[in-house]
Symmetry: none
DNA sequence: AATTTATGCATAGATTAATATGGCATAATT
DNA sequence: AATTATGCCATATTAATCTATGCATAAATT
């Protein structure tokens, strides 16, 4: 891959980070002012960056830049910008509305895109009924809201008006919820409602 | 706070999300085309959004929009700004330098502050030797670099030039590494070096 | 030595985009 | 009933921005 000159790199960085302060890319003129060079010179640099594949640009479009590649720092910034901040709900007591604002204990960040653009939330796991699936008391599960799931998927279900983490069993005549702990029996004869599917697990170890 | 009409809200959303596809805000004309209204009408809507405090705009600046976010949005932004982007290393083969750039498989974000300001990295777990501690093959552990740890803490240790996840046992005469799986024996008579301590666990469930 | 690349200047012209006005109709609010 | 806000159009003007072109020099490359 073509390497950038230091001048080109600093211009690329400028373009990439301009949006942190404003919310739009710079114009040629603004770039020129920053580096005390004329527009014509800026054109040349831009052209070089395009040729080297670091920058895309829409013709005749004001501020029509798009940074394709960039250095590591910029990549990190971009990762940050693609994060989703989702609410973390605590233990939901029976009868309480699950998604009440009062229940928000904090916020968790997750990478979006990969996991579809549906609505997500996080939930703190209570109890050890899923221990054989490696989900422990106090773990945090990230959940995608949906009202159905496949056999074997770990779901959040509403049971007796309480949110609970279980494995969904869906293969026979009737769907039921299965605990991943031999101490617990599967829940077969109670009605339940699936509210989401677990897509990620987080566990914090206590730090001294 | 003034409430938005549905028209105003959809225009605000359009402006806010335009940058997801491009990397710059739209022009008045582009907004107009989207909603099949003329520029003059767009002007009116923009003015309304500005008056209500949802949108800022630079005079005479092409695409000079800036969506002013609600309180909730701002809080999320603040959370994002306190994130740390750390490298994710893959399985480190014997003899290879652990922190080589070539081994970086991606990046993971973590909330900083809480966990000290030391240097962190992430590692993909290979094998099932920690299964009884709820750490599975393919899980990602977030590690804080340090060269010692307390009894019972889960550490990343360098053993035969390979990075491995184990529980540190440190209570008797001699420290040793313990697997969390009855199939595996503890590693007592080999020299090892602690390179970090596991502070967080992440597990992705496959999404359909 | 010749060529290419990077860096720079200057300027005219074309195009894009924002602004300024004025007018009209309807719904919501006072 | 009067006022205000909303929602819409049309057009002329000004400002911002991009493009095209030619020229110059030093450094790196062939």
């Amino acid at each position: 891959m073509h390497k950038l000159t230091s001048k080109q790199k600093s211009i690329l960085d400028f373009i990439a980070n301009f949006g942190n302060e404003y919310s739009y890319p710079p114009t040629l003129k603004e770039i020129g002012e920053k580096f005390r060079i004329t527009i014509g010179t800026v054109q040349d640099h831009i052209k070089a960056l395009q040729n080297k594949g670091y920058l895309e640009r829409r013709k005749d479009i004001a501020r029509g830049f798009r940074v394709v590649k960039s250095d590591e720092e910029n990549q990190k910034e971009r990762i940050k910008s693609q994060l989703n901040v989702i609410p973390l709900y605590g233990n939901v007591a029976a009868g309480e509305p699950i998604f009440a604002d009062d229940n928000v204990q904090g916020y968790v960040t997750m990478e979006k895109n990969l996991k579809g653009h549906k609505i997500h939330f996080a939930l703190k796991v209570k109890g050890d009924s899923m221990i054989d699936s490696g989900i422990y008391d106090g773990d945090i599960v990230i959940v995608r809201k949906q009202d159905s799931a496949e056999d074997g998927e770990i779901v959040i279900a509403l049971l007796d008006d309480e949110a609970t983490v279980k494995t969904l069993r869906n293969r026979r005549i009737k769907a039921y919820l299965e605990a991943s702990n031999s101490k617990y029996k599967s829940i077969i004869n109670k009605p339940f409602k699936i509210i989401g599917k677990v897509i990620e697990l987080r566990r914090d170890y206590n730090i001294i």
